[in-house]
Assembly symmetry: C2
Homo-oligomer: 412 residues x 2
Amino acid sequence: MTADPPRFGVNYTPRTGWFHSWQDLDLAEVHRDFTALAGLGLDHVRIFGLWPLLQPSRSLIRRSALDDVASVVQVAADCGLQVAVDVLQGHMSSFDFVPAWLTSWHRRNLFTDPLAVAAERELAAAIGAAVAEVGNVFAITAGNETNQFAMPYHPDPQNCSPAEMGDWLDGMVAAPRPALPEAWSLHSFDSAAWFDDRCPVIPAHATTIGEATTVHCWVFTGMTGVCEPGDPLLATLADYQVQLAIGAAADADRPVWLQEIGAPQPWVPADGAARFVADSLQPLLTSPQVFGVTWWCSHDVSRQLVDFPELEHSLGLIDERGEIKPAGRAIAELIASAQDIVRTPRGTAVVFPASDTSTGAGRAVTAPGGPVWRAWQELRAAGTSAALVSSDLADDQHELAARGITDVIRPR
Amino acid sequence: MTADPPRFGVNYTPRTGWFHSWQDLDLAEVHRDFTALAGLGLDHVRIFGLWPLLQPSRSLIRRSALDDVASVVQVAADCGLQVAVDVLQGHMSSFDFVPAWLTSWHRRNLFTDPLAVAAERELAAAIGAAVAEVGNVFAITAGNETNQFAMPYHPDPQNCSPAEMGDWLDGMVAAPRPALPEAWSLHSFDSAAWFDDRCPVIPAHATTIGEATTVHCWVFTGMTGVCEPGDPLLATLADYQVQLAIGAAADADRPVWLQEIGAPQPWVPADGAARFVADSLQPLLTSPQVFGVTWWCSHDVSRQLVDFPELEHSLGLIDERGEIKPAGRAIAELIASAQDIVRTPRGTAVVFPASDTSTGAGRAVTAPGGPVWRAWQELRAAGTSAALVSSDLADDQHELAARGITDVIRPR
């Protein structure tokens, strides 16, 4: 299990120019942003290059773009921050950044086309090599929620079976390892991997590929139809997803990283953001497997940039003028008391039916609003913070003991 | 009519890094390339920015990207070259470069969406303003063959009627004029505008919007089904298209600019490229309305870049190592003798049925292989270089006189 105390970081959304700032990289601005973030007590940033800038041709990985990523990593080091680097962006805040060699006349399946996949692995390896020297990169992620490109509701979905996705993820996670042998190499995905049977990233991929399981928690997708905006129940989603990630893993000690969580308006009202931070994070930080939390995001998207979903302009811990917001102060307070967090396994666990390890079929039973969720919430309402555990582990006393589980509840 | 002698230029495809070189702009390399081109006797270059680099957000036109375009224009001036600038790329050599704010989750119709169109006009105006000061920009074009995005065979076609396209072109051509009052402001399109009734850019747009009519001549699209690769007939297409552009314009003196023509393998064998240059250009350069020729392209696309149609690696006047190719020497010879070209109207003209001025319907009758083409070729085979003239002009003796036409041939 991961070490105490939990780690706290932020997904870095540059204050000036959002990710378009890569094209006009100003390290002084990065330093300004990172200094402010370090000042909140955060220990790491997750950073995101843009794919078309890094690899504008299938055969061209720009040296200067790699150097830019490495320079940002160095600035983080100068500010006392560790760094997680994502490779394929890919999808960012409703925008898709896909290079011309994969689109339109050159459309290739980014998950299954052999030439595309080879090029993506080369990029992952090149980014790993570019950032390794600084020494503060603790994780590299294949890309930000790359599963979104394979969802049927995407405007231009890429067909990919769970088996094909597993191969793709294996390759992407393996590629940067030689350059970063000490770092985690991971993948990320939205909650569809946990709750939506149409998603080719399945719980088995989440819990076996890479050194830790990542969790992205967004109430606007996870809680639609379960409760209304403003409901205090929204703040329980993160703990639920984290417990699900712990309970789905065959390895009882597998770390879980809450890699994205944010307080999106109007689901979370502006004056409720600080409380949402504390209410979302405090419960889950006690679980021994929790590596840490990386908040989404560092800075509000500037109003000078348009076409974003409205909520993206208010997700920051810091506003577009550089002022720390209530959510920023709330996370700083949480960090200040993080030494006092007691990591304790939960004795009571709700059993959920294991999903198919080849297809993910059956996973939707764990979605918010379903029977597993209701049983877990009933315990919570009665004062018990429960774990979750997969049905294929729940009959094994060694497995339960390894997790500190003494009571199992089987919802009907 | 345009002044003697005709102008000769080249579409600039940077020798190192193709258009990806904008991201790592090295003005010394541009200077090297332009020096070589000026050495062939060329008087201008046509240059192409990449839209996602210039305008990565609908509300963000990057100052530094505009400065880069202006710097390249300045290097051209330093090398004694004039410049034509294209705004929206858009489509380049099989690749589409479209910013994220117009694709995927943010797909908008680039021709009809009011917010998109407003942003595009802003970019056209901004580019015009950025390059005006140098003083050597003689033309600005809305974009490279932007009609391709509206063709039904495009992988993701944008619906656009001829009327909507006319409005769009009017706006795009008007936008940079205040900044460049002395320059031509134009639009460009492939031969579908002349020959394909599905194309929303119609002959009336070609011959009335902007100060001159542009012609792009590609034998691999224009001559499919008409003759085989290697046929000497291929070299007649450019003259035919130019005569059609002259004969379709109500203004007898409207300049025609052969803005793109290349010698694509295997249609034109490598050892036939030099001859194709001379055979294609010599006939048309005598027409008084011909402003000049801009060859496609300056430099072969490097073999280090992949996924291009094979022919793109051999279209240059100069190869990827900087060696001048036979086609480059051929155009240099043509330029060296350009002073001797006698501009003479053609006394014999083939009448073609006017296409509908609102829809372009009927234009396909002029396509290579059709009755107009055959009549024109028969005259050519008999030793007569004929003009073409639209049926709505052919009964007006003043119109015919203005064009120097004394005999009209009406194909059955």
